[in-house]
Symmetry: none
Subunit: 211 residues, 4 copies
DNA sequence: AATGAATGAGTTTTCATTCAT
DNA sequence: TATGAATGAAAACTCATTCAT
């Protein structure tokens, strides 16, 4: 009766909802555009009845936004764990660039999510609303960057005279810019590697201590 | 009946096509999401028959992609002219940031266009294809930045030891990042101004020659 | 572009609208309940595309209400013409009773319309709204009765010391009551004829001059 | 598992069935249209499981028809008791008119039931079938009127030279006509009172003995 | 006996595209 | 060349009914 809001914890999710979320993720990974995702395609992939989706969500928009929120959260959690195994800030940034590139080519959607953060569609708007809910906020990309930076700052790896928020946005920007570059110049391997190195150096020069 | 491809020069455009392009621009400026733009709404705003659109374009996607291409071209041309009146690279960057912010608040669409560059919808893909056509390339944002940078380099205002392409992408990235910031933190004026200054300084520190 | 409102004159009706109206009438005559009428069944019977219905009407409800209004108007006009050929008030009442009975058995819907006047469904409500529009009012059953009574009064056939409105409602009531009787006792011919005579006499005794 | 047929006596009704019946009544009193009543809304209001309804009834239609039959029976029983406290036929008729008007404005459903007697929906048809079952017949409106009239006739208050059945239908008709009048002219209080008086006088003049 | 999660057929509605005029 | 009436495939969503628990 109470509908899913997207604030549920992972272990609170009903089985069918998990199936729906996975179906949305798969569609995303297949490159299906947001506007072309239909309730039929989701429930079909999930292997459940169309009506069931409406037992848990009020509308297609709610369903997709919640699914994306869930996947983003999962993804950033995994990413965070991975980053935490790195020795220092530089390695973390290198790892992030790898991840972004891998994500781009495997379509596993980081770029799609970054994109959604500035999407004007009803689903994009709904997603931003849900992200605004405090509890979830902490897993969002920008917060992830801030967390990395805070740790690095206390370890004396990055400068402390620049606002954390600005540094987070700048890292986000450079990654998003790199994704755009990939969209346009994906074909040439050499160029790609050169650009990646430049982005890496750009971040390090601007924020890292020493050189 | 050769259809419109988007490669036409401004003065080659049939009157009806111009009307259609303007209609798409208006819809965009009204904030209509890409997915919610219909052929009816376009031809209605253009004041011409629905069938006429199909005399010039093979599909709605073609029509919208061509219109966006045209508008982007127009916009960057206008922007370029404006930037060329500026004394130096620093002023140009400040002007760009103003423009981005104004564009964001007046919905005059620069952010929408930047967004489209990494959009997976059929229209977005078509648009990128068209951008790839050499003749148009020169008017696209990245090329605009490269042109500015080339001039600035020859005037000794920016460093010459960094790849032009990287510098262009970095400027693009920082602007796109600033737009994302505006999406998320638009409400607070002070924060906004501080962030804009930081972005400006970030660009200048990385690329400008001395002070 | 301007949608049909139900206030159109007969010769202003587009061909397709006429087809839709006829389809609704046929469905009604087949005894289909209001709630079971679907847009598919209407356009199917009309032999036109489903979308066409929405070119002319904003919703199924609008379509059905307009169709019923049209049919009621047509029916009462025909009935009025028929009644005007009668010599006097008594013959008119006898004719009305015949008509009601015939209508009941041939399902040509007078009873359905009378019924709709007190129906709580969204279509019933819409219909009453449309009936309230002045121009149409004159053709509705109650107005028809009032017109007959006015003529009869000026011819000295009915009493002039009773309010016209009351007389109209009473005639309406007795007819509706007779329909209810038919619903419940339709099987027995003799009983039916006896009841019809009683209804006739009831009207005449109450309103006719002399005896 | 013999299902409920609607012929059960009040004290034979399982608790759950009573809950279902009450839920239907409440929905009706809230003005919900027959077509908008759902099994969910009924069982929800009844506070029992959806499946339980199907343990007792074969279909939604059966459930609603039985519920309405029950409520009508209850209502007419109550009404009859109330009428039996009246001194004479005239007071009974006045009381009936009060009841009808009160029922109309409080939505307590007499008008809805009268309406159902000539309704073509599957529920309406089912209801009439059930009314036809002899045991129940005695509680239906028409029978109620006949009972009143029989008593009044034996008390010398109404004429004995007119068929009881005709008188019953006429009273029913006039009440139904008054309801129609209320639907159309509910707003004006004065007109309403005048009409009610005329209806009352109409009945008395036609059927009452002397004055 | 009682439940309510799950279903999917069926409904209303939209809109890109066609084609007779 | 230009039109816009007509189409129908496909979408979102509802709800009576079933059935495993």
């Amino acid at each position: 009766m109470g509908k899913i809001t997207g604030a549920e914890k992972q272990d609170e999710l009903p089985e069918k909802v998990r199936l729906l979320y996975n179906a949305v993720l798969q569609l995303f990974e297949e490159g299906t555009d947001l506007a072309d995702i239909t309730v039929s395609s989701i429930t079909g992939k999930a292997g459940i009845g169309k009506g069931t989706a409406y037992d848990y969500f009020d509308s297609k928009e709610e369903l997709v936004a919640c699914a994306l929120l869930y996947v983003m959260t999962q993804m950033t959690e995994k990413l965070l764990k991975m980053l935490e195994t790195k020795e220092n800030f530089g390695e973390q940034m290198a790892c992030l660039l790898d991840w972004v590139e891998k994500s781009f080519f495997e379509r596993n959607c980081l770029n799609r999510f970054l994109h959604l953060l500035t999407d004007n569609s009803s689903i994009g708007q709904l997603l931003r609303q849900k992200v605004d809910a405090k509890e979830i906020e902490q897993h969002m990309p920008m917060m992830l960057f801030q967390r990395l930076l805070k740790k690095a700052a206390s370890d004396g790896e990055v400068r402390t005279d620049i606002s954390l928020e600005y540094m987070a946005y700048t890292i986000y920007s450079r990654l998003a810019g790199y994704v755009t570059f990939l969209y346009i110049e994906k074909q040439e391997r050499e160029k790609r590697e050169k650009m990646r190195m430049l982005v890496y150096q750009g971040i390090m020069k601007e924020f890292a201590v020493e050189g």
